[in-house]
């Protein structure tokens, strides 16, 4: 008879417990959003709602303009992602393939700016946006994030992996730099660009402090700000808070489950290089 391996059992137990701790809040959130108010406050706590209260979602949409929050978030996250990706592609191309005076200086400045924490500049940026009269506008929400040194460096590792002879060959064949970027560089780094786009979109979707600063009108709020305002306003209606939280998280979770490989690989890659 095989001896039971207690060490291994312990390991399974440990991993199992932490897996439950990690996933439980998500499941509880989804289930809680479908409970009745009584069920959310009973002792012992309810885990499975007796009747699924889909009406909670109707109430959430009726009590706060979540559809508008969704739209705002989708617009800002998409615009930020597309424009910053575009700018990063151009910048990363110049720093990878072109030779010019001052390149070393540009690189050093960009690298040192990578170390500046966003929290240190966000308040003065707020001041700039306020002076430009862009509070409560889409432009104000996205403007400081239309370029990302971080993603530029990230793309440089992809572009750098493409042999410089391809660039030379393209030049000899009479292609312009612009054609090289869009006809060769971008198609060849599709995977990397896609990953960067995903990561950028997710962080745009989850942004909180910046939109909190530059918007105070309900119609311009992003999801997370709308959600936190809703959580304060809805007071004790826990089931509605949880339903609203589910609404906020679900789209990202769906994207995550579809593209989990790219996302995880992307995060690991850009942080090992740092």
């Amino acid at each position: 008879m095989k001896k039971i391996n207690f060490g291994l059992l312990l390991v399974y137990l440990f991993v199992g417990i932490f897996a439950i701790i990690t996933v439980f809040p998500f499941i509880y959130m989804i289930l809680g959003g479908l409970m009745s108010f009584q069920e959310t406050t009973t002792i012992p706590p309810t885990f499975f709602p007796h009747h699924l209260q889909w009406g909670n979602y109707g109430k959430v949409f009726a009590e706060a303009p979540f559809a508008k929050y969704f739209l705002n978030t989708l617009i800002t996250a998409s615009v930020t992602t597309i424009v910053s990706l575009f700018n990063s592609i151009l910048g990363a191309f110049a720093l990878t393939n072109l030779r010019f005076k001052g390149k070393a200086v540009v690189k050093v400045i960009m690298l040192s700016l990578l170390m500046v924490p966003g929290e240190a500049i966000i308040f003065t940026n707020y001041n700039t946006i306020a002076r430009m009269g862009l509070l409560n506008t889409y432009i104000g929400l996205v403007l400081p994030f239309l370029t990302s040194i971080f993603y530029m460096y990230y793309l440089m590792t992809y572009f750098g992996a493409i042999s410089p002879t391809i660039y030379k060959a393209a030049m000899i064949d009479g292609a312009s730099d612009w054609e090289y970027v869009w006809r060769i560089l971008v198609p060849m780094s599709k995977g990397g660009l896609f990953t960067v786009g995903l990561l950028s979109f997710i962080s745009g979707w989850n942004s909180f402090l910046w939109p909190l600063l530059v918007t105070n009108e309900d119609s311009m709020r992003l999801l997370n700000n709308g959600l936190s305002a809703f959580a304060s306003d809805a007071g004790s209606e826990t089931e509605l808070q949880l339903a609203a939280a589910t609404l906020t998280v679900l789209p990202i979770l769906v994207i995550y489950f579809i593209f989990r490989k790219q996302i995880i690989r992307g995060v690991v890659r850009n942080d090992l290089k740092a």
Partner: protein
């Protein structure tokens, strides 16, 4: 090939414009404002008075103390748990990518939304956590409404949120270890423990050092976690205030941007020192 291709500047133009306007300018502006007092529309140069103010402000010290507490307790605890989890998944469990996917979920999801769930779980009256604690006859503290518990709650939440990133990075590092080491160790009959301490740990040191500094820097930037957990406040009576909270409060609520910027400069310098130490440490380890 041209050695000085001026067109490069054209490609860098958008980046340079945005970076100058929204990265370089704000740093200089913050530095300048830290020596000025008054409301935003009428700032006056007042020398170092803002710095004197923050260093004598007990609220600022509390923010730093909380950050330190978080960095000393939450960061290492989360790291130890992550190492153990990553190693267990990597070496003992078959469905690696399944577990990896699961453990990484908190990283991609909104802290505000998760904070709402945790507020519910931590609720003193009908929360799931206190129900479980009472079930095993443990004391059931008031996690959210008792000021003396607020930092503990924040630290627990912080550990939960930081596991995701740590585990995924550690898994990546584990996969990078040359499997031949283990094959060789097996040939010499090394035990699992020996393999872990003699091969895995030494190979993980650079990754652990990296995660340690990243997490410590992260500790100085905590804001959203607190906001989410205490519904927009920094705990009861500001008991769980953090550096960024302090800055936000002085900038937006109290209307003393000079004080806020002085605190920002101090925060920035601390982060810079930590980053610098990390570089040095990594270099030493690399040798």
């Amino acid at each position: 090939m041209k050695t000085n291709n001026k067109k490069a500047w054209l490609y860098l133009l958008p980046t340079i414009i945005f970076v100058s306007l929204f990265s370089i300018f704000p740093i200089l502006r913050a530095l300048g404002m830290s020596f000025q007092s008054g409301p935003l529309i009428n700032l006056q140069w007042t020398g170092v008075s803002n710095y004197q103010y923050i260093f004598t402000d007990p609220e600022f010290w509390r923010a730093l103390k909380n950050t330190l507490l978080y960095a000393v307790i939450a960061v290492p605890s989360a790291l130890v748990i992550s190492i153990f989890l990553a190693w267990s998944i990597f070496s003992k469990i078959r469905h690696q990518s399944f577990f990896e996917t699961m453990f990484f979920m908190p990283y991609v999801t909104s802290t505000i939304a998760i904070g709402i769930v945790f507020r519910y779980i931590f609720n003193g009256d009908y929360g799931m956590l206190n129900f479980l604690l009472r079930l095993i006859h443990f004391p059931a503290p008031n996690w959210l409404d008792d000021p003396s518990m607020n930092m503990t709650t924040l630290i627990l939440f912080g550990i939960w949120t930081s596991l995701a990133f740590n585990i995924v990075i550690l898994m990546g590092a584990l996969r990078n270890i040359d499997p031949n080491y283990y094959t060789l160790a097996d040939m010499y009959g090394a035990s699992g423990n020996e393999k872990f301490w003699r091969i895995t740990m030494p190979q993980l040191v650079p990754t652990i050092a990296f995660l340690l500094t990243m997490n410590i820097i992260g500790a100085f930037k905590i804001y959203t976690e607190v906001y989410a957990l205490f519904n927009g406040q920094a705990g009861i009576g500001n008991s769980a205030t953090t550096a960024v909270y302090y800055i936000y409060n002085k900038f937006q609520m109290v209307g003393t941007p000079g004080v806020a910027m002085a605190a920002t400069v101090v925060l920035f310098l601390i982060i810079l020192v930590v980053t610098f130490l990390q570089r040095k440490m990594m270099k030493r380890i690399g040798r």
